[in-house]
């Protein structure tokens, strides 16, 4: 294995939770998760030589991973919405399966870009970083998150 490949894989190994979290947000079962992980890894590897360190490595990884997930899901939108099943929380085992099911159900109603916002919010990223990753102003992030929160609240209250 070449030195550059080794360095790249070291970084991925260190921050693979970022890619997994994006996969978790955008997929509903293990097969889709693995597929998306591989696709993101390919995009990261293709973009790696152009990464100049202008932003944090993790910010860059979020950008590439989210862009890949958003554009991939656009192509497979119908397939994904059909594949929401009970395997979702079997794979992502949780202390509170009922709550987790609620979370996934609510998230599945969001647009692809809103999913990205919610994921970064759930990860407790500051608005500034969310804005930097997505390309929105901090105010816009706040406004859109409030809108999403309101929408999710309506859905979750019904549950």
């Amino acid at each position: 294995m070449k030195q550059e490949e080794k360095e790249f894989l070291d970084q991925i190994d260190l921050h693979q939770n970022i890619v997994h979290k994006v996969c978790r947000m955008y997929t509903n079962n293990k097969d889709d998760h693995d597929d998306l992980f591989q696709e993101i890894l390919l995009q990261l590897w293709q973009a790696y030589p152009r990464f100049k360190g202008n932003s944090k490595l993790t910010t860059w990884m979020y950008r590439v991973a989210l862009y890949t997930a958003i554009s991939r899901n656009k192509k497979k939108q119908r397939l994904v919405s059909e594949s929401i099943d009970s395997k979702a929380y079997e794979y992502y085992e949780n202390h509170d399966p009922y709550r987790y099911e609620n979370l996934r159900m609510a998230i599945s109603t969001l647009s692809e870009t809103d999913k990205a916002l919610v994921m970064l919010y759930l990860e407790e990223k500051p608005y500034k970083e969310i804005a930097d990753i997505m390309g929105l102003t901090e105010t816009n992030v706040g406004v859109r998150l409030n809108r999403v929160k309101k929408k999710l609240k309506e859905i979750l209250v019904i549950r």
Binding site: C23, Y67, L122, L156
Partner: protein, 199 residues
């Protein structure tokens, strides 16, 4: 239940983690294989375009048009189309610069560049096609009369203009078929992200 309450649920979800061995294996088998497949597909396109170019040159020779201007013009025509096609494929496939740009900016840049290249397609293709037709007429006249001029200027220019318009319509149809879907997808993504910004 609100989104804030679900933060804990999200963070408590069992983390999925690949071992280093698994990661190396995914990279070796999937990443490398996919890249090979992408490169193979680009190579197939290149071979196809080279064959088309060779076909053009052969036709010119078969027809007995030995003028180097015509041949050069045709080659230039193909080369420009080839460059534009590759540039668009390259841009939409793997040149999304997310190191210096955020997601919204990166998408906007791709949209602008693809639109620019499509405009080039639409300007250059009819111009070159019309130009080649005029060159062809001048050459034919030269072989018949020994004079480098248009035999019936108004008629020839009229036909050249019609050829240009026809080629423009054809180019529009082909580019829309080839890149329209991808461009539409990028525009929709940008619209979703920027919410109300115009492009």
């Amino acid at each position: 239940m609100e989104l804030n309450e679900l933060k804990k649920t999200w963070q408590e979800a069992k983390p999925v983690q690949y071992s280093r061995k698994e990661l190396d294996s995914i990279f070796e088998i999937k990443t490398r294989r996919s890249l090979k497949s992408i490169n193979r597909s680009m190579l197939t396109d290149a071979v196809f375009m080279v064959l088309v170019t060779a076909g053009f040159v052969s036709i010119t020779f078969i027809l007995g048009l030995k003028s180097r201007y015509i041949i050069s013009g045709e080659l230039l025509f193909i080369a420009i189309l080839l460059c534009l096609h590759y540039r668009i494929k390259h841009l939409t496939l793997s040149r999304i610069n997310l190191s210096e740009n955020n997601i919204t900016e990166a998408i906007l840049q791709i949209i602008k560049k693809v639109k620019g290249y499509l405009l080039l397609y639409k300007v250059l293709t009819p111009l070159i096609a019309g130009g080649l037709f005029i060159l062809y007429q001048v050459n034919t006249n030269f072989y018949n009369t020994g004079i480098y001029s248009l035999p019936r200027p108004a008629f020839t220019i009229g036909i050249a203009l019609s050829t240009g318009i026809l080629v423009l319509a054809l180019t529009h149809f082909i580019t829309t078929t080839m890149y329209g879907k991808e461009l539409k997808r990028l525009k929709q993504m940008y619209k979703d992200l920027a919410h109300g910004k115009n492009y």
